[in-house]
Subunit: 434 residues, 2 copies
């Protein structure tokens, strides 16, 4: 049967993994795809960079145009990161009549609705399994395998770096900074880990899942996003004492007909499935109106897990399934869309930590501000203050769990709280999963 | 767009759920399927039976021929159980030019390879998501979403009734018999629960997964299958003390190039994901050579979860995906097939419980038999014997954990052990997951 000729743009970790499997397991892939997959061109920035995989002669090029302009190439595997020039490259690939497989979450988060609409107009298809949750085939499950359902809620651990850091902090009782440094040495965290630890990466993935599960295009500015970068070991210990573990959760759920969205470090009851997700693993809980709760879990990143997702898309394109799936995606403007719940209206229980100076009336000030903002307190823990160190009075951690309240009330209270002279540092806040 | 006209054979719990969603959520299903799905005929045995869902007039029939012979019906949803006449009905549906969606695991376990080959010859397709693990879309994930991988191992909880009984026994410290009766009252267990609790149901599902993941057709006689029906509360308590929970595990894995298969109650380390699967939930751990470990979990039975799986197949048929998937399934004779590891060669650690009479030399007899069969003992627990009750000396439970040994040695030893006069009942055996 006629081979499917593909061009790959970008040849980093994931691209290397895809090439390794395409070249090393050609017979198996051909059987699954119903025809041979030929890796015709691979475009890279630097032809002379050392690589741990040998491509056949003539495959490597430093000109993206060699892929865009090659009429034999039907499918482009676009593995470049960022949005610029990735957006332009994808538009030119689509315009040149190619289907596209991509792993670029930032691109799809920011321009997904536009790119999908553009591909539809041109009769082309985009597949993007690898853009969310690495090796977990969550896109296929949300778009196809659960298609009989109205999905009512998604609750997910989508950032492996954050989950690795939280797991190690809790298991080894190490500080955030120490674990982050170790994660960087081990290659689990980037040299600049900001997007991972501040929640942005998880939020971008949540935007993509929301588009698919709820047919609704949202932007990062429409929902609250907090990362794990202000957490201290004390927070994890306190959560543990209370019977919880801390996870960076991304949540999208229908609530009174509106779409509630947020990314935040969250206290999850011990031994619930999401609480037991360890290290760099990802997990997604999907609730559907027919299927009830389902769970998907696996490695959220890494060369071969991500290559597994890219290969599923390549095989789906070769078979013709991906084109059918892309046609039936219910995109914004095509079905029931949901209004995003205003940030201030989101309801949750919260965990708060204050590093207070050991002065009279501190607890009274804190509880007064919470009370005046209509937030009622479920529990308070303040331990006896530690000894004076080097003549300095160390701050005393005060932990407060609230009853259910709104994000709006909480934000108003936080603004007031953080103006208190008696706080050593801004209040740290987490959600509590119910 | 032209509607897809379907005929449904069987209108029990699952069929009712499918009809409820098709009729109640027609707009949503149409959007996902790209065209309307019309439930044209539903064949039942008894037209007069009361049903909790109203079908449009003229839909209900008591003649399967009304579906087989209707040229307008392109897709049959075959929800009858058992193999006879289900096999003949499926053959006649395929011969009449219809694609088939089925939930019948017994049929596919026994005749899957034949039916699939027959459908291929006729250019027809079969989809069967609902035959394994209820609402968990495990068939789609094994066949499509993980297609870039060679699956190397499947380890699964596939029988919800058994898992419900084991969970309740452990949580409420109730006997097997008491929980089974309650499960029957609640509708979680059939009036005749034999196929569920003796492991057959899980083994049938394992046969289907093995066909898909390893392209190898196996029969139930080729691998050991033990149920939970000889377990006592003592076994679960002993497992708990040792740091384990008991799960009925179905396992298929490549081992030295051979396929190791078994279904047995198994000690799983506490807090591993499979150990935390509660109640009637199912779970499947799939290991692939690229993706590593992935987990899928959800409700293993029930009206709407199973209907969710049937609807995924119906939508896939309407879209055309299911036909492409069926074409690319690598069936026996089409790819790498694996030899099944001989039963006697399967290696495991075992847990053994003996109900021994409190006599001299009992433990010596047991350990002598194990030793002569080459089985070495990792640990022994025997508590002081209970008080004499009603003048009768109650049997004393003796628990033994072995080191790794083979099924063959274990079976030989068991045969000898069960001839000992000093045992009150046959030895109970479980595997220990590593």
């Amino acid at each position: 049967m006629k081979p499917l000729k593909i061009g790959m743009i970008g040849f980093g970790t994931v691209g290397g993994g895809v090439a390794k499997i395409l070249l090393g397991e050609a017979e198996r892939i051909t059987r699954r795809a119903g025809r041979p997959i030929e890796l015709r061109r691979v475009a890279v920035r630097d032809l002379n960079k050392a690589r741990d995989i040998d491509l056949p002669p003539g495959v490597l090029t430093d000109r993206i145009a060699d892929i865009v302009d090659d009429p034999e190439i039907e499918l482009a595997v676009q593995l470049m990161g960022g949005t610029d020039p990735a957006r332009e490259v994808m538009l030119s690939l689509l315009s040149a009549g190619k289907d596209v497989v991509t792993a670029n979450k930032a691109l799809l988060c920011e321009h997904g609705a536009e790119l999908f609409a553009h591909a539809r107009e041109l009769g082309r298809s985009i597949a993007f399994e690898a853009s969310v949750a690495g090796g977990i085939p969550i896109i296929a499950n949300v778009c196809c395998a659960l298609a009989g359902n109205q999905i009512t809620s998604l609750s997910a651990i989508l950032n492996g770096t954050s989950n690795f850091i939280l797991t190690e902090m809790a298991d080894k009782e190490e500080s955030y900074g120490d674990v982050l440094r170790r994660a960087q040495e081990l290659g689990y965290a980037e040299a600049d880990p900001a997007m991972d630890v501040d929640g942005t990466d998880a939020a971008q993935k949540l935007v993509i899942l929301t588009l698919l599960a709820f047919g609704t295009a949202v932007s990062l500015s429409q929902f609250p996003c907090t990362g794990i970068d202000s957490l201290e070991l004390d927070d994890l210990k306190c959560a543990d004492e209370l019977g919880y573990v801390v996870k960076l959760l991304a949540v999208a759920r229908l609530h009174d007909g509106k779409l509630e969205l947020h990314v935040s470090p969250t206290l999850v009851r011990k031994h619930l499935p999401l609480a037991d997700v360890q290290g760099a693993f990802n997990a997604v809980k999907v609730t559907g109106d027919a299927v009830g709760e389902t769970w998907f879990s696996g490695q959220g990143a890494g060369q071969l897990p991500t290559a597994s997702a890219v290969l599923a898309d390549i095989i789906d394109m070769a078979v013709g399934r991906a084109q059918l799936t892309f046609k039936t995606l219910v995109l914004p403007g095509e079905g029931a869309e949901y209004e995003v719940q205003p940030i201030d209206d989101i309801v949750s229980k919260f965990y708060l930590r204050f590093n207070a100076l050991d002065r009279p009336h501190v607890l009274a000030d804190i509880t007064d501000i919470l009370g005046r903002n209509g937030i009622s307190i479920a529990s308070v823990v303040q331990h006896e203050s530690p000894e004076v160190q080097n003549g300095k009075e160390p701050p005393v951690p005060v932990f407060i769990m609230t009853h259910r309240t709104t994000e709006g009330k909480m934000r108003a209270a936080e603004a007031e709280l953080n103006r208190l002279d008696s706080l050593h540092s801004p209040c740290v806040r987490m959600s509590v999963a119910e």
